[in-house]
Symmetry: C2
Subunit: 198 residues, 2 copies
DNA sequence: CTATTTTTGAACTGATCTATCCAAAATTCC
DNA sequence: GGAATTTTGGATAGATCAGTTCAAAAATAG
């Protein structure tokens, strides 16, 4: 029928993701996106419609891939509830450590977007809210499992504990972007876990 | 000798602060700053040199004024260590609640800047790091005081507890910007405080 | 009132922004 | 190979960006 694309769409999304992640939405120009993906303007606009639409694809892809890995950890049947949460934190911090191209953490694209865009982009805000709700569900289930298996003894509401853990992850992300090293982040995690048995 | 300024520099800084706070650094144009301050371009560039320099003045002013209030709370001699930390969280959340012009929290300009700029603006990063170090010092002192007065029984390192509390504040800020209401934030605080007595 | 100095508004500069247009190249189907 | 269709690169458009220029207005000091 016609000429096929010579590039891989998901590969282009990954390149765009890295750029948005590193520079933020506003500071990323369409030329940055061309350079990062290796594509011309036409290809980008043909495929993704606009910078904003491309960003939405990127954000969706980011949340989907991140959640896949994190939810898998949270559902590991071989671990107690508390250990699953420990494993989640470890995964978050490992991922953070791997993602420091310039020595400084890039943080989490979800957190970064919450702060840069959620207040004035209802679509992005909605995507992020759905993602948070999803993660809170998974965290609450693990807290309840930990309560059953005895690894979590706090009498606080499971939903509140889930929100506390979610906030702790965000706090770790901000601390990392502010320059904290791995040992510092590990110490924060250890203290946060204390709250589950208080 | 000559014509004096008709505007108040600090008032202009406050107007600029609100704008940067609400929209972020990149998304704020110099025209936005003119509109917010009521000044012309000449007056702004005459007084503040550049958008970036103005932002640095704004960030410095923000950190100074915020720290003044927060450190005062942390040094209240009438309260136990744990109660001073409770009072700090209350102050943070009260301030957050007062600062929701569109219903959604604006977060903290320091956190927002850490995420939007610290990775690619060494001056901003340095200002933020100094501010964080200052706050961590105050938090550690309060943790040590709480340990002496018996209100904090955790055996964790005081510096680590300070970093945990600082990360918790950041996590609260991100949660607020993500749409959490006051009751949710209060519940997170209560759980974080559990870690101090675990 | 005059000389001096600064502020101020408006026009302007050159760069960069997102996005579109269009013709040439590429590829498939027949 | 030829017709049909899509991709692609480069040029371009129009808006907006941060920042400058300049002359007129304003205000003080003497």
């Amino acid at each position: 029928m016609a000429r096929p694309r010579t590039f891989d769409e998901e590969q282009a999304l990954d390149a765009a993701m890295r750029t948005f992640w590193r520079k933020g939405y506003e500071a990323t120009s369409t030329e940055d996106l061309c350079a990062a993906t290796g594509l011309g303007r036409s290809s980008i606009y043909n495929t993704f419609k606009s910078k904003r639409a491309l960003f939405q694809r990127v954000l969706d892809r980011y949340m989907t891939t991140m959640n896949a890995g994190q939810l898998a950890v949270l559902e590991d049947p071989g671990l107690s509830g508390a250990d699953r949460i420990r494993a989640l934190f470890a995964r978050v911090l490992d991922g953070d450590a791997e993602n420091r191209p310039t020595g400084r953490s890039l943080g989490c694209l979800g957190v970064n977007t919450t702060i840069e865009l959620a207040g004035r982009d209802a679509v992005a805000a909605g995507m992020l809210e759905r993602d948070t709700a999803h993660r809170l569900d998974a965290l609450r289930a693990v807290v309840e499992a930990g309560r059953r298996d005895g690894s979590i003894t706090s009498s606080r509401d499971a939903g509140d504990l889930a929100r506390f853990l979610n906030a702790t992850i965000a706090g770790l992300r901000v601390s990392a972007q502010g320059g904290a090293d791995r040992a510092t982040l590990d110490a924060i995690v250890a203290i946060a876990l204390d709250a589950l048995t208080a």
